[in-house]
Symmetry: C2
Subunit: 401 residues, 2 copies
């Protein structure tokens, strides 16, 4: 069971969470809990680094400092559980240990040592509360896992110890067919495959972190997304084979602030793509869709998309690229990406066509198309984003999912 920052936001919430855990206990069931920092606590720590003028520094001290937030909530939750008569204790990353590489502020988990954990369960422990978001590197320094790291901690521990499931408690009730703020009739998905969830996560449905879903997929650890503020049924993210009735389309994801960059009249010969995307990668720019139209004249246009925030940065990187000749660079920072996602696409033809027709009926022009086995993404004018999401939701009848 993993509880995020708002779920353990204050002492009253920590007490509530201890009740939720107690309800989940059964004879012969052991529970591992992974906690984030109390939402307020992390802000206070970051505030201190701001005052010191070292905010966001990549430095082992920063990891050591920020990781104390999770330690505080882990110990408080263990105390709350013990107050309920439950045999509980807290574990920090280094105490297991959770071994990571040495990329401070963005470390990757290399292994979770579950030996002590298993022994303590044998010795009668009922609930182990583990600080999320942290680990320890080879020189015994504390590392943090980067954004959404506690989800990754939870899945990594669940996978390492062979948990039956990893329940992730958040402030939403599950994964929806699309953002309910845009389409009020968005439906909660009961079961979704890892592959679909991965597309949903990376395409802007911010409930689960991509790294956590990837890890769950590799280890085949089912994730259940639940609301810590209610008892509603959540969403199970699991292996495709465990989903009997596969939806053709499971959901519609989107990214609002995208930009399209077109280089016109570039040479159509081997190596030219490397001249463009090499410098962009070096500059740390996340290039998303790439479309190149071939021609017979030996010259062609190349279009790619990236986050609107990164446009200026991307233009600079291209300007620096040597030996790259092009006629014009055309930028449109007013586009958005909409994607339909579903494992059913693998076996159903005509899904992309239905998407294009739906958008066409609304007079929405498509700038760029890109597809994978289980998704179709299009770049459209940003002002049509809501209209596109709603009409696609209707035409694929997602409210009935």
């Amino acid at each position: 069971m993993k509880f995020g920052g708002t779920s353990v936001g204050d002492v009253a919430r920590i007490k509530a969470v201890s009740g939720t855990i107690r309800s989940a206990l059964r004879p012969n069931r052991k529970i591992i809990v992974v906690v984030s920092a109390m939402s307020d606590q992390t802000n206070k720590l970051i505030e201190l680094t701001k005052d010191l003028g070292v905010e966001g520094t990549i430095d082992p001290e920063y990891d050591a400092l920020v990781s104390t937030g999770e330690d505080v909530s882990a110990s408080l939750l263990a105390l709350a559980l013990k107050k309920l008569g439950i045999h509980a204790r807290s574990w920090r990353g280094w105490q297991l240990p959770i071994n990571t590489d040495s990329f401070f502020s963005n470390a990757k988990i290399k292994s979770v040592n579950t030996k002590k954990l298993i022994q303590s369960f044998k010795d009668g422990l009922e609930v182990a509360v583990i600080s999320g978001f942290q680990g320890v590197e080879a020189n015994s320094r504390i590392t943090t896992l980067g954004r959404g790291g506690s989800d990754t901690s939870a899945v990594a521990i669940a996978a390492s110890i062979g948990s039956e499931r990893c329940d992730i408690y958040t402030d939403v009730s599950g994964i929806y067919t699309t953002d309910p703020r845009i389409k009020r009739k968005a439906a909660k998905i009961k079961k979704i495959s890892f592959e679909e969830m991965l597309e949903m996560a990376s395409l802007g449905a911010n409930v689960l972190q991509t790294r956590a879903v990837e890890l769950a997929m590799r280890s085949k650890t089912p994730i259940q997304v639940l609301n810590s503020f209610s008892n509603e049924e959540g969403t199970l993210v699991c292996d495709e084979e465990e989903i009997m009735e596969k939806n053709i389309i499971s959901g519609i994801a989107f990214q609002r602030n995208e930009a399209r960059i077109t280089l016109s009249n570039i040479e159509d010969k081997p190596g030219v793509a490397a001249k463009i995307f090499g410098p962009l990668a070096e500059a740390g720019i996340n290039v998303d869709m790439i479309v190149q139209s071939s021609s017979e004249t030996g010259n062609t246009d190349l279009t790619f998309s990236c986050s609107a925030e990164e446009v200026e940065h991307a233009k600079e990187a291209i300007a620096k690229s040597k030996d790259l000749t092009y006629k014009n660079i055309i930028v449109n920072s007013e586009v958005a990406k909409v994607s339909i996602i579903g494992i059913g696409m693998k076996t159903h033809a005509g899904v992309a066509q239905k998407m294009f027709e739906t958008l066409s009926e609304e007079n929405i022009n498509i700038h760029v198309i890109s597809t994978s086995e289980i998704k179709v993404s299009v770049l459209i004018e940003r002002k049509y984003l809501e209209l596109a999401v709603r009409s696609l939701h209707d035409s694929f009848e997602l409210e009935k999912i």
Copy 2:
């Protein structure tokens, strides 16, 4: 260098402390810094346990929780030092490790492993910042050292690594001949022996913790008490042999809220003291002075003192003691203890006599007297405490120290 809670009370103070450390750096000098939690930080953590209803619990989780306060200030100070271009890093108790026993909330340091510390200095580290007040026990759980634990951490580390000195920065400028709030002309002592300091510390001069002084004495580690808010010269606490001109009297200590308990007509035979002080020790009562007057009738009176707060508790413990016969129990909760302390007493006669005369001249009646090689303590009516301290300070000419 050890900095207490007020010395690192906020980010501005942490910056100031980083400047103090920089000024102390010299070529070929390495500095170990021990920090307490930012004063506010500890209060906030304790507030959380209050809200949870587990305040003051003896529980490993409580140690784990509270110890995060020191971790926060250690990392912040390391970041501040690095910002000044100083090669610094933080260490937590478990990272060295600082090994303790398993008495949570009041653990004792068993050993400080300085191997990693020495290696890191060899590798170019200039300043090591270590979380005070904490250690780790045999099962890798975090322990805290109890009240004033950071002083003990500092002295233990200094002793283990063979530091030339342990500088303790506080919010006062050193050790004074007596409390300046009572005697305005109290003088700062330049040098004081460990033995004297131990008497001063345990008798109510709350600048240094007794445990820390004991440890310094055993390891012959000089302690310098300094003010982190000013550049004044402080007080050096050192071996008696390093003090050339020994004062007959170094200071006057006192404890305001004492109680005197007299059991009249107890049997004057072996084992009776055990019947009284056994139960008191079991009840956790700190008995201070004990006076027994012998008699020829086979019956005698026994008087002892303890903190006024503990009187009721002490009476209960005595009432429970089996086979103890006495006529009356007479309690006076309105007494105070005044002590004169000085290593010069060892070689100078008449010091006690001069104390008694001084008090007699002020018409202050003495209830109980107890002496050691380097101190004389008396119990007097509490209302005369200030008068006694002032007149003793004058008659021993301590303002000229």
